[in-house]
Symmetry: C2
Subunit: 287 residues, 2 copies
């Protein structure tokens, strides 16, 4: 039976009790509107040895910019809880913003450098500080041994892994391969914003990433050339591009020159919907 907790202190006590019984807690932090990508993370924590899985559902105001989709972000708690129940999640934590950020809240955790400044960081100022701050809090509340994140948000996963390493948090971090729809679209809670016509256009990203994999397989190693292949597809279908870029897969710094392992990352808009996706050439399978 999935237990639902709204109060941070109750969550902390519950997870502490699990640990005291010798349990290993796995954490899956989400913003809700759960899809198969999220639920794959639940399975991952168990495969990695968690005996108790906590999934958090919190649309974190700190990581949204003033003109972003915080207020309309999908909130589907009853359906989310049903899916958690089906997948054997032990505990769902679904706090109100006031419980996470009481009046006078004043603490921030931030990671500096290219890992936060590149790509999303350049288009969403303050986004990653919002992410690292809320996840630091969730880590303190849950005390997980294991935490799982989706690589659809590849940069977020790198930023959080850097935070964990730098602060020496005793948590195993796992980044799971992006789960895709049968036609290649990366699963995202924001896909439900898309009209049927936009849904078709959105496939341009996966098509571009596949083409880049093909070129890479044929020997192309130049980051700019590989990014250009993706850009051509995305440009033809999307209304606006934030970036289509090749980057170092660890530091996220822009890639200059050829590489045998590199990140290709995309952020682009269809109407009022912003989608992101990525692949690591030399590591991931083609989407």
């Amino acid at each position: 039976m999935t237990r639902v907790i709204h109060d941070p202190t109750a969550l902390q006590a519950e997870c502490e009790a699990v640990r005291r019984r010798g349990g290993r807690v796995g954490l899956v932090p989400t913003m809700g509107a759960l899809h198969d990508g999220h639920l794959a993370l639940v399975g991952e924590t168990r495969r990695r040895g968690a005996t108790f899985t906590a999934l958090t559902i919190f649309v974190n105001p700190l990581q949204f910019g003033p003109n972003e989709d915080f207020s309309r972000y999908p909130r589907t708690l009853p359906g989310d809880l049903r899916r958690c129940q089906e997948h054997g999640v032990n505990l769902v934590f679904a706090p109100e913003p006031k419980a996470m950020y009481p009046d006078g809240f004043a603490t921030g955790v931030s990671v500096k450098g290219s890992v936060t400044e590149a790509l999303e960081g350049a288009f969403r100022p303050g986004h990653f500080e919002g992410v690292t701050t809320v996840v630091a809090k969730l880590f303190a509340l849950v005390g997980p041994s294991i935490a799982a994140f989706g690589r659809k948000d590849y940069q977020q996963w790198r930023v959080l892994s850097k935070m964990v390493a730098d602060l020496h948090l005793p948590i195993e971090m796992h980044g799971m391969t992006t789960v895709r729809e049968p036609d290649g679209l990366a699963m995202s809670s924001r896909n439900r914003y898309l009209s049927p016509e936009q849904r078709t256009k959105a496939l341009a990203i996966a098509r571009g990433l596949r083409a880049a994999h093909a070129a890479f397989g044929a020997g192309e190693r130049d980051g700019s050339a590989l990014a250009a292949i993706v850009r051509a597809e995305v440009e033809a279908a999307f209304d606006r591009i934030d970036y289509v870029a090749a980057a170092d897969a660890d530091t996220l710094a822009p890639l200059t020159g050829p590489a045998d392992r590199l990140l290709l990352a995309v952020a682009a808009h269809l109407g009022t919907t912003r989608l992101i996706d990525n692949t690591v050439l030399g590591e991931d399978a083609a989407p």
Copy 2:
């Protein structure tokens, strides 16, 4: 027997083992050059229920400004270890800076607002971010149930307590009354910098704080008037004053108007030595 550990990973494993055996870890973070004030903190963690006390000795480069005394800060490890042994400290963690901040270290924890911007914050830019970052790391490494800090560094104690509350770290924070020499001088590792003549002059702070307590006892409630009493004493003896100020004892914001509980805080220089001290009127005993 006090065990000495230099490696963060070994420290984390040791403290994890203590917790797994059902122990409660108490933490006393210091920069070494231990005096009776530090050792009182060890006793405090035990009184508060710690079954295992870890004391850390780390002169943290992050919390020193470029023109401060990082390089000449007293390092007296052999004597410190002897005193830890005498006081039943279970574990001393004494890392090298490189072990705490490997190349590429990029994460910071910071608390915003008056609690970090007032008083020390105005004179030591970046100081408190250095403090919160290193203590967040020590908390992650040690996993204490209890941590004890001296109120000689009153603002530091408030900043760290704010960080703990905001991040929901499961740690009881204790701020211990400042331990003083028989003549009233607050114990400080920096007192050893003082010449005999400066040592005598340094008493002006305690004298000023005592005079303010007397005035407060006689009914004076105005922060500026109370601060002026301290300032007169300090000005007559010290070479330079950074601040002598009345502040809200919780937020550290400058105090305007009368109060029944208020912080009086001092930072002043004798030659190249900077001393700080404070008292909370309406709460502390006179020094």
